[in-house]
């Protein structure tokens, strides 16, 4: 279906040269929507050593407009984003949007159209109530839905049944990610003393998902500056995160016999991504991964979906400690979505945290010597996937 990369056209190399994010909190009552975005943007521009005047185009992403009650908020934000007189694109692909937005921004550079693109994703969930915005009763439909947790819990149950995973795996993931978050000053949750035992003791919300196994609802934003090879080479940026591959795939939400545990779209995107990035054994060749895990059990599920483990074996990576910092494949060193979930920005945070790792700028949650990292996002009912691989070196 697709043209083969480089057969007809040589893509411009692109790299992340600036990363910024907000301090994510349940309620950022100190800022407006614009102020929230600017906190991340100003940090990204400073990190890149650039100003708004250097930026060619702006790509913004967020999840449903009903969250903030503003229709196409990029229109009102145009001035605050420094986008006036420039191209401004607004992406919305459900929960994967932060990742898709970064991919669209990267493609503006890879296409050879722009040299320096600013991308930002945000959500100010405290303006409304996500459970409400996601569950507005539609006539004719049985109102058993209870937000995202109610949607995903039956599929988690299916995973446990299919893989035979022991019941504590989800709690292991939650305890690991909450501990990792203690090393990330931007993380929303800083829950000291979270252990497998405390997670298992927390309230069962959407059985089989416990309270401590769910993501919080956060206000937050993330921004990146993506630049072309020519710009990077001519600059004094010493540690760009080169983009080795980007992929997005979608499949229908409800199709007969659709695999909701190991979705085809995720497998297809991952296979294409590894090929694009020249990776044959992802578990060996990827140094760390930021994966979209809003409910703890999705870590083992996505390990399988991404090809890091065989089907039914993902939980063994978690159980062995391979996904902890210091393990074979650290996952969600930042604390992940389980520790900060500004929905529209959550995907971009995964992409940006992957970039920070290969830039060597991840601070206390840095994985030593990380040179190739995965950023991953998914959305909707596990039918939209976006992912990228970034590296400390230019792609071969």
């Amino acid at each position: 279906m697709a043209g083969i990369d480089g057969l007809n056209h040589r893509k411009t190399l692109a790299a992340v040269i600036g990363v910024g994010q907000t301090h994510h909190r349940a309620k950022r009552e100190d800022v407006s929507i614009a102020g929230l975005c600017r906190e991340a943007i100003d940090r990204a521009l400073e990190d890149a050593g650039l100003t708004f005047d250097d930026i060619d185009a702006v790509v913004i992403g967020k999840a449903p407009d009903l969250f903030e009650g503003v229709m196409m908020p990029e229109l009102y934000l145009a001035e605050a984003l420094g986008a006036v007189g420039k191209p401004l694109l607004r992406v919305h692909t459900a929960g994967s949007v932060g990742g898709t937005t970064a991919i669209v921004a990267a493609s503006l550079v890879q296409a050879g159209v722009h040299d320096r693109v600013l991308t930002v994703a945000f959500e100010k969930q405290s303006e409304s109530n996500a459970m409400w915005a996601l569950s507005v009763p539609v006539p004719f439909i049985m109102p058993v839905h209870a937000g995202a947790g109610g949607y995903f819990a039956p599929h988690v149950r299916s995973y446990i049944r299919r893989s035979g995973a022991p019941g504590h795996i989800g709690a292991m993931v939650a305890a690991k990610d909450r501990q990792n978050a203690l090393k990330n000053p931007y993380a929303h949750l800083h829950n000291e003393g979270t252990t497998v035992e405390t997670v298992l003791a927390s309230q069962m919300l959407w059985d089989p998902i416990r309270y401590d196994e769910t993501c919080p609802s956060s206000d937050g934003a993330c921004a990146m500056v993506i630049a072309s090879e020519a710009v990077v080479d001519a600059s004094d940026v010493k540690n760009p995160a080169w983009i080795h591959g980007t992929q997005m795939r979608s499949e229908p939400t409800t199709a007969a016999e659709r695999d909701q545990v190991n979705p085809h779209a995720g497998r297809a995107a991952a296979a294409a991504l590894w090929k694009q990035a020249g990776i044959t054994n992802p578990l060996e060749e990827i140094d760390c991964a930021e994966v979209y895990v809003p409910f703890s059990w999705f870590e083992p599920m996505w390990m399988e979906n991404l090809g890091f483990a065989a089907e039914g074996e993902g939980w063994k990576l978690t159980e062995s400690g391979a996904t902890a910092i210091g393990g074979q494949l650290p996952v969600n060193m930042s604390g992940g979505v389980l520790s900060s979930n500004p929905i529209g920005a959550s995907g971009m945070l995964r992409f940006a945290e992957a970039a920070l790792q290969v830039m060597g700028e991840a601070g206390e949650h840095q994985v030593d010597g990380a040179s190739r990292a995965l950023g991953h996002a998914y959305g909707g009912g596990s039918q939209f996937f976006a992912m990228w691989v970034v590296g400390a070196q230019k792609p071969a």
Partner: protein, 349 residues
Amino acid sequence: MRDVAVVGFAQRQMKEFEGSPTCVELLVPIFAELFEQTGWTKDDIGFWCSGSSDYLAGRSFSFVTAVDAIGALPPVMESHVEMDAAWALYEAWIKIQTGEVDTALVYGFGKASAGVLRRTLALQLDPYTMTPLWPDTVSIAGMQARLGIEHGRWDARAMAAVVAHSRTSSLDNEYAVLKGAMSVDDVLAEELYADPLRRSDCAPVNDGAAAIVLAASERAGEASTRPAWITGIEHRVDPLHLGARDLTRSPSAAAAGKAAGSAGVDLAELHAPFSHQELILREELGLSENTRINPSGGALGANPMFSAGLIRIGEAAKRIWAGESDKALGHATSGPALQQNLVCVMEGR
């Protein structure tokens, strides 16, 4: 840059669409028509991209069900913008430029009749200082129109001429919902609705969907004998606040047009939801007296939200396919009072 062309275009428009706000039932026949035009199947499409709005549909993730119309198993490479689908076309054009894909199908849809459109669009304004007043789209356009009239940039007669031309041209457009031969005096005889605007100065509220197929030069010839080659596609945005810009101008349209190379087009399809906005656009895009404007009737004939801009590009491309134009532009707008504008210039070869 790779050479990329518009090789397929299909649309459905109506006053009120009876079906669901996801518009799946509209997209299915549109896609079928595109496959017939191009001789391709869904497997020939490298990238899919759509434009729509949750607030138009009244529910979150309204675009999700539309993916069903693709038949997206095996999975497809797909993206969505919360914008008119003309910007989805831009994203698709970029994707083809990266070399990752050679073809793309772009679609937009919206059922504006489900709500009160001019009220819903107040949610596009500054949520702190504007939306609480619920300024409706027509009032904002009316203030813009009056500024132009009182500053001598246009007059009621010029606006009426735009309306008369649209209604007359729409006679040949099976999808136009407002049509019928009209003279300038007929228009001026109408009473004022939102002084200084008459109802006929305002685009109708209607439903619809549309889609376009793009192909790089390696594939375009398979699908079309005279592809509409995109020689420039650019978009820009102005500030939202009405006091922060000269409402009688559209700097973003001018900048997009200049960058896209709008000079010398022989035909232009302009997305002007209000008559005076066509007058602004003509000037900002530097269109001459000889440029054929809106042979489809334009947005005053039918203005399906989130596909009307894409339709302008499709209508312009159609004229190139037919040999009626050698260089044409399609224009799309978004936001209040022409805030955001996209220009796509195409040539026949």
